[in-house]
């Protein structure tokens, strides 16, 4: 398929293909990108997915609703709480059950902690993709504190499975509030370091500013959500537009940028971390009393017949869960609208005409988690 193309100066150059992945340091998993290159300039990118497909949607069709929740941990493993929450909220809405305020607030704090830990990991990996290897370890240092909080309260660090339909699995640990406050205090001093190390660094700015511009119209038409879409000015924050849990009672800004380049996407996430910190600060001191488990949700859950949809804002964008129920213990059909999937396929549109090094930077700012795309 290699063809000779004539450039404007009539020098014959040859385009060539490079397979980036499935095993490649910067594809963040087993993603395969087929690059069509002219020198170092990228002509076309074709993402090939399916290397870690585990058929979570099909498995859900035989699992009970409680079991589905634990599968969602393994989709976007960096937004584990939000994924759990999405399914739990869907079940609660379908059963028309209202969980207690305590559960709502705990869920919100946990979600924001998850968002912070996801963005921290993204920041470290972004630095590493651009060659600043030290950022990775600094990000993990801060992430460690959040993981400890999860481990103490939920019993696991990554696949927490803390939310259950009708509440949360355990009450929060007695140390929880103190630990979160300690974390917030230390993280507020560490976040400016992130700026010193990367955001203000001249090399980093040169690498990211004005690179990989995604216009607002394109973001909307490709369905790019999350910080990636908001950096292009596309207001899509589910927490604002369709508030769930305790998001309607906290003050926070939806981060909107207008440039849509790689640096805006980077900056949007950094600012989002500040917002998450502020949300946690507002909630952590006044967690209301109440049941952690709604008693009306039975052990065996049967959803009424019909179609249900619930969306939450994960660290990557809008995660939608769509369930068709035929009244049985497990759904007739379940479909996840995962943010990573939509965000990945805008890559080809963004990257044409840029260099390989820019592709890596752009891929970083889209913040791909491959299990989220493949499911």
């Amino acid at each position: 398929m290699i063809e000779e193309v004539e450039t404007k100066d009539a020098i014959k150059t040859q385009e060539y293909f490079v397979n980036m992945g499935p095993q490649h340091p910067s594809t963040h998993g087993v993603l395969r990108l087929m690059l069509e290159l002219d020198g170092e300039i990228i002509k076309k990118v074709t993402p090939h997915i399916g290397y870690i497909h585990r058929s979570i949607e099909k498995m859900s069709e035989k699992d009970s609703y409680r079991q589905i929740v634990h599968l969602t941990d393994r989709m976007d493993y960096l937004s584990n709480h939000m994924n759990n929450e999405a399914v739990c909220l869907l079940v609660e809405n379908a059963l028309e059950v209202e969980v207690s305020d305590r559960v709502k607030v705990i869920r919100t704090i946990m979600s924001e902690l998850t968002r912070l830990s996801s963005h921290q990991l993204w920041w470290g990996v972004m630095g590493m993709d651009l060659g600043a290897l030290t950022t990775f370890l600094y990000a993990f240092r801060d992430r460690e504190m959040i993981n400890d909080i999860f481990e103490e309260t939920c019993g696991a660090r990554l696949t927490v499975n803390y939310n259950v339909p009708g509440g949360v699995m355990f009450d929060i640990h007695p140390n929880f509030q103190q630990r979160v406050k300690d974390f917030i205090k230390s993280f507020k001093t560490k976040l400016p370091e992130y700026d010193d190390l990367l955001s203000n660094n001249v090399i980093f700015r040169q690498r990211t500013e004005g690179v990989g511009i995604l216009s607002k119209e394109d973001a909307i038409s490709y369905g790019v959500t999350g910080p990636t879409g908001r950096a292009s000015g596309f207001s899509n924050d589910t927490r604002k537009h369709k508030p769930y849990s305790a998001y309607d009672r906290v003050e926070f800004k939806e981060i909107l940028m207008d440039k849509g380049d790689t640096f805006s996407r980077y900056k949007a996430r950094i600012l989002e971390m500040w917002e998450s910190v502020s949300i946690i600060e507002q909630l952590i001191d006044n967690i209301p009393e109440g049941d952690i488990q709604e008693p009306s949700v039975k052990q065996v859950i049967k959803l009424p017949k019909g179609e249900f949809y619930q969306s939450v804002e994960t660290a990557r964008g809008e995660l939608g869960v769509y369930v068709v129920s035929d009244g049985q213990k497990s759904p007739y059909r379940l479909k996840f609208r995962s943010p990573g999937f939509s965000n990945l396929f805008v890559l080809d549109h963004m990257v044409r005409g840029y260099k390989i090094a820019d592709l890596v930077a752009m891929m970083s700012t889209i913040d791909l988690v491959i299990p989220d795309i493949d499911r």
């Binding site: 490079v18 910067s26 651009l130 600043a132 290897l133 030290t134 690498r207 260099k355 090094a357």
Partner: protein, 361 residues
């Protein structure tokens, strides 16, 4: 007055001793063999040390402990890694140009060995002190890029070809800046011979004597030298996150180890040249004609001074590498041709003016 420890009598006595038993022909041959063995042993040891130091330094920058399992404080880790690399399989990719593929590591190693011969380790401890020493080192190390180019091409891998092309463009252009920044000291000291350059710093190192322009030249040399050795933030030829391993993607086992070795030898050479030219090499820290102070400083042997300064420069280069993100290829060339080169040229003219007017200490 205590003079710096001179090793010339030692080498001279070895020479005389050999000459008393052997013919001049065999004396020279035996001396060459001794020097060769010493250099190889030094390179092997220093590279192992450097790799260990690099890993430890990186670990401390990154809040880790670094190697700590093999031997005390992990001191034998690099030896273990080297043995592992020795025993690994040699894999040559299909359709590779086998001759060039096997040749490339040797070219790059030989180039660095050629250069290291002219470096003065201490007073009287220099394999060859030719009258154009500085020029010779830059000339010899300029061959090394051929190893990268050939190695990247012969592996028959697109990643390594891209890496090789990047590296070619990078090294060829940054060589200009490195040489121009070294020329400032050549202008000031009036010689290309390394021993003369060091001798001219007996009343203070050039970086202190030469005011701001020499300091600028030192910074320029550090940048250009880092780029020439393909180290971060200029490691585009390897660019782990873009090209997996760049020009040595297809290499395995001991051939990969040779690229690794050459990278660290080059780092040592760059640091040694920088230390010799700007920081006085083995010359102890002297202040003008303050005899008492200079005498105290002379009690520290020159070898220690030399390695202390080289260590300082290497530390700076490592600090860059573990802090900064990598540049893109076009930005790399912009940096060279739009910033380093003009500044270097202007700087050279300023230094020439200073030298002409005698405005240095």
């Amino acid at each position: 007055m205590k003079e710096p420890l001179d090793l010339t009598p030692l080498t001279q006595s070895i020479h005389d001793y050999l000459l008393s038993y052997l013919s001049p022909f065999w004396t020279t041959t035996v001396e060459w063999v001794i020097i060769g063995v010493l250099l190889i042993a030094f390179v092997a040891l220093s590279v192992m040390g450097l790799v260990y130091i690099e890993r430890k330094v990186a670990a401390f920058f990154q809040l880790r402990l670094g190697p700590n399992r093999v031997g005390k404080w992990g001191l034998l880790q690099t030896l273990a890694d080297f043995l592992k690399l020795l025993m690994k399989e040699h894999i040559t990719s299909k359709n590779a140009d086998k001759f060039l593929f096997n040749l490339a590591p040797f070219i790059i190693v030989i180039a660095s060995f050629l250069a290291i011969g002219a470096i003065p380790f201490a007073l009287g401890l220099q394999a060859m002190d030719i009258n154009i020493g500085l020029f010779y080192i830059t000339a010899a190390s300029s061959i090394g890029v051929l190893g990268i180019l050939i190695g990247g091409w012969a592996g028959n891998n697109k990643y390594s070809l891209i890496g090789a092309l990047r590296s070619g463009a990078q090294v060829v252009s940054y060589e200009i800046s490195a040489v121009l920044s070294l020329l400032t000291i050549v202008v000031l000291s009036g010689s290309l011979q390394l021993s003369t350059i060091i001798e001219s710093q007996s009343d203070g190192w050039w970086i202190f004597k030469g005011h701001l322009p020499v300091f600028i030249a030192f910074i320029m040399f550090l940048i250009a030298g880092t780029a020439e050795t393909n180290r971060g933030p200029f490691d585009l030829a390897e660019a782990e996150s873009e090209l997996t391993a760049g020009f040595h993607t297809e290499y395995s086992g001991i051939k990969f180890a040779m690229f690794f070795l050459a990278e660290y030898v080059n780092l040592f050479i760059i640091a040694a040249v920088g230390a010799t030219v700007f920081l006085g090499g083995w010359m102890p820290f002297h202040i003008g004609n303050w005899a008492a102070f200079n005498e105290v400083m002379n009690y520290i042997p020159p070898v220690i001074w030399f390695f202390f300064k080289v260590g300082f420069v290497i530390g700076l280069i490592m600090w860059f590498k573990w802090t900064f993100p990598r540049l893109r290829i076009d930005q790399l060339l912009v940096l060279e041709w739009k910033y380093l080169l003009p500044i270097n040229l202007v700087n050279l003219i300023v230094v020439a003016f200073i030298a002409m007017m005698g405005w240095y200490f």
